[in-house]
């Protein structure tokens, strides 16, 4: 399977769901989608094209929106599904019904960006400490961190 056949198949199967499709480097295909079409695209990738390995989900803070990149791989190539959700209403459908292992990445997205993943089977916090104050999302660009003052035991000499 080379890149061009995969691009053609994506255009044929997903049709007008594909907003944009680029092939910036060999064996790397970016497919841009609306967030409502995400589940259909993941279903197509997994069940028809055999992309069973979701490497990770990347979240990017673009200012007005969050971009999410789903990195899929099979033994031939990588396909990255890119989608954007608005920052003031960050709702994302869970893909755990198709790929159960995605729950870890989705929980991390909830922790680090404050994205609300709908229909997530297990929405507990994952990476942040237990006593983390609510409403603080470290990977948002506008999040500021004030380091608590350190005490030197015994004082400075």
């Amino acid at each position: 399977m080379n890149d061009q056949t995969l691009i053609d198949k994506a255009k044929a199967s997903l049709g007008d769901k594909v907003l944009d499709i680029t092939n910036p480097a060999p064996r790397r295909i970016f497919i841009k989608l609306k967030v409502d079409d995400l589940l259909a695209a993941v279903n197509w990738l997994k069940n028809e094209m055999g992309f069973t390995h979701l490497a990770t989900i990347t979240g990017v803070d673009l200012g007005q929106a969050f971009e999410l990149i789903y990195h899929f791989a099979n033994s031939f190539t990588c396909v990255n599904l890119r989608t954007e959700i608005p920052r003031d209403n960050p709702l994302l459908p869970s893909i755990c019904q198709l790929i159960p292992g995605a729950v870890l990445y989705e929980r991390e997205l909830q922790d680090m960006f404050g994205i609300v993943v709908q229909n997530i089977p297990d929405g507990r916090p994952l990476v942040l400490p237990d006593d983390w104050p609510a409403g603080n999302y470290p990977l948002r660009k506008d999040w500021k961190y004030e380091r608590p003052p350190e005490v030197i035991p015994g004082g400075k000499r």
């Binding site: 942040l128 006593d131 983390w132 470290p138 961190y145 380091r147 350190e150 005490v151 035991p153």
Partner: protein, 141 residues
Amino acid sequence: MLTKLTQWSRLKSPWILHLNTGACNACDIEVVAALTPRFDVERFGILLKATPRHADVIVCTGPATRQMKDRLIRIYEQTPDPKFVIAVGACAMSGCVYRGAYNVIGGIDQVIPVDVYVPGCPVRPDAVIDGVVKLLNKLKG
């Protein structure tokens, strides 16, 4: 007489607990290397223990992370008195490269009292042994 005996036994067999509070594992490997027959710390009576309840000395590697803070205090409180803490590595001393990260408080000394600091990134096994021996000399004097 009895105090002399306890002092002698304390100096001759400091049992240690190896504790990682969020290190990158380089210091842990060096601490484990210090326990191998090549360095032979058992000639000082140093023995690695699996639980804080059996330990006299906590050999602590890594910066104090926010998640580990309460657990670190709990481990410290589980250790029977008299207890001593050795901060092994630059991270345990000050936080090193993790200093200022949102999930790191700083060195171990921000959470529990520390007796001996062993610098290095990672430390050499000789330095760990030197730190323990320095602690024992401190107790002797």
